[in-house]
Amino acid sequence: MHNETNMNSPAPQSGLLDRSDTRVKHANNLGDVIRAFFDRVKSGDLGSSPVIVGLIVIWSVFTFLNPLFVTPNNLVNLLFDCSTVGVISLGVVCVLMLGEIDLSVGSMSGVGSALIGVLWVNQGMPLPLANLAALSVGAVIGSVYALLRTQLGMPSFVSTLAGLLALLGLQLYMLGSTGSINLPYGSSMVDFGQLLMMPAWFSHAIALLPGAAILLMGLRTRAHRSAANLSAGSVSGLVLKAVATTIAFEAAIFYLNIGRGVPWMFGLFALLVVGMNYVFTRTKWGRSVKAVGGNAEAARRAGINVTYTYLTSFALCSLLASLGGILSSARLASASQQAGTGDVNLNAIAAAVIGGTSLFGGRGSAWSALLGIIVIQSISNGLTLLNMSSSLRYMITGCVLAIAVIVDSLARQSRVSHGRA
């Protein structure tokens, strides 16, 4: 498709299409790439570097205080715990990208788990159907928030705060006087939440994928770009990245397989993260979400259906919250009044922010849910190993969240002053 408006366009400059401005330093070798990375970080484009640094510090401290922390089986447990809240956090990323918030994800996950208990255990509905029902309820509730926001201009902060209470009430109402419904041990559901591990060979095979994907997709993009007369990165850099990724993943998988192995539930979470990352970076919808989060009026004038973007993001957020609730009911083998209460809500939101998704909208990634939740669960797991009470756990998690938000705000200020807001 070529635009006819471009007639007698000036002759293109010689050389590569995107390398005509001589003032720009381009990273050509590995040293340049690394220098460019540090320049980016200095200007406030932090990406996930602070959280990775934070994670290394946290793990070192806990291992120093109690070597049990890094035992393979403890890490396997950590992965189980990450999966449930992590899925909720992934949903939170969707609304944070819009510059909105959903404070009711915890209650929503409680409703999800209660629905599984009531529909599957009490009413005898087939499991897939009960799951579908719980997810649909999530989608509907998210859509309601979006409509309140777009049609009535109600800030999502307020509508979801109201939703937090209302959904908690719904959860308590559904669970009735007993207050808790046990899911049958030995059912596929509970096995998935507590026992099912990937076979060792399978997990090792999976661990090859990221490196292979980096290499193959990188080479393909390279070929396309050079065919289109655009600059293309170096092959050696690509190979290096792929090899490093593969070694890191294989080593991690090897270590986990010394213990119980890699939980299927974590596999599901990782798959969702990868899927959402694709959606955010490579689809039109993901681009619209970022655009609306960055400048909603500009997005509207560019012809983006802002209402639809809000609707789908909020629906997806509540749907994922409901899924997180389902997973946690499987993990605990029960749907109880406690599900989704306490720190679940704030952990899910904190994870997204700690992982590097900005509270100010338009900036973030699906990976932040994964990285952030590992930080949060590491703290909680490590403190439990040290026999610390939950009071201390809350205080420390609160401080970490505060630090993450401070880093976010400072990075934003730095971006503004470096012209990268």
């Binding site: 498709m1 635009n3 006819e4 408006t5 471009n6 007639m7 007698n8 366009s9 000036p10 293109p12 400059q13 299409l17 995107d18 401005d21 003032r23 720009v24 993009t221 396309h224 770009r225 289109a228 007369n229 655009l230 490579r282 689809t283 039109k284 919808w285 681009r287 619209s288 970022k290 655009a291 989060g293 960055g294 400048n295 009026e297 500009a298 997005a299 509207r300 004038r301 560019a302 012809g303 983006i304 259906n305 338009g362 900036r363 971006r415 503004v416 470096h418 012209g419 990268r420 807001a421």
Partner: protein, 270 residues
């Protein structure tokens, strides 16, 4: 494009866009009152007026950003009712807004293709980047990298990106709200060249500018707005006094007073 450039007389008989009695209220503020405006294919209409005269508001009505309070819009001889900016884009009305309406957090390519991405389920970044460079080169843009967020660009560079974006969709009419306000000499010349190229292809152009030199250079007709009302249609050859008089609404105005003061000063010196 198959449509041959229309001759002026042919063009005048068939306006591509015509407004009748357009009014727009913002609460108590009557920003536009009974505006009449025709644009023919292959015609450049300059819209001039003082600050707050309602020029941008008129552009926003035509681009579907604001719904008019009353009045009718005919586009290609059909009455149209634009509910949203996407309706206007679908009709073939492209706009460069005064505030540019760019997403600062996205890079140049994403902004140019915003809402029009190629391959929605697997964005074709390479072809979008190539097309972006073509559009930008056409405008003699000086942009270091199209993969940096817009926030890192200068004001003029942003303006060029906004103009490039408006060319993307083969529009039938292009509206430029002060397109050269922040541009350098070469870039301004390129934009004026572009306006002429677009006109020669038979597209309609509405250009807002405070720079009378630019207006004279490309406009076929100059329409003056004053306090939200039509205040005369002028040929680009009309004298400065005439235009300034219509814009400010008085023959005795700040501009003429300055001019006569200067003249007096020169006389004393000379």
């Amino acid at each position: 494009m198959t449509t041959a450039p229309l001759s002026q007389s042919e063009a005048k008989s068939q306006p591509i866009l015509s407004l009748r009695g357009i009014s727009k209220n913002f609460g108590a503020v009557q920003a536009l009152t009974d505006i009449e405006l025709d644009v023919s294919p292959g015609e450049v209409v300059a819209l001039v007026g003082d600050n707050g005269a309602g020029k941008s508001t008129l552009i926003k009505v035509l681009s579907g950003v604001h719904a008019p309070t009353s009045g009718t819009i005919h586009f290609e001889n059909k009455q149209v009712d634009m509910q949203s900016p996407s309706d206007a884009l679908d009709l073939g009305i492209a706009t460069v807004f005064q505030d540019l309406a760019l997403c600062e957090n996205l890079d140049v390519v994403s902004n140019i293709f915003l809402g029009q991405e190629r391959n929605p389920w697997h964005l074709d970044e390479v072809s979008m980047e190539v097309r972006s460079w073509e559009l930008l080169n056409e405008l003699a843009a000086r942009i270091p990298s199209v993969r940096e967020p817009i926030a890192s660009l200068s004001g003029g560079q942003r303006q060029t990106v906004a103009i490039a974006r408006s060319l993307l969709l083969n529009p039938k009419i292009i509206m430029l709200d002060e397109p050269t306000a922040a541009l350098g000499v070469a870039q301004t010349a390129e934009v004026l060249n572009l306006v002429e190229r677009v006109r020669d292809k038979g597209l309609g152009v509405i250009m807002i500018s405070h720079n009378m030199e630019d207006v004279r250079a490309v406009a076929d007709r100059v329409i003056v707005l004053r306090l939200g009302r039509n205040n005369g249609v002028f040929s680009p050859d009309s004298s400065n006094e005439e235009l300034v008089g219509a814009i400010t609404g008085a023959t005795d105005n700040a501009v003429t007073r300055r001019a006569s003061k200067r003249a007096a000063a020169m006389q004393i010196q000379g």
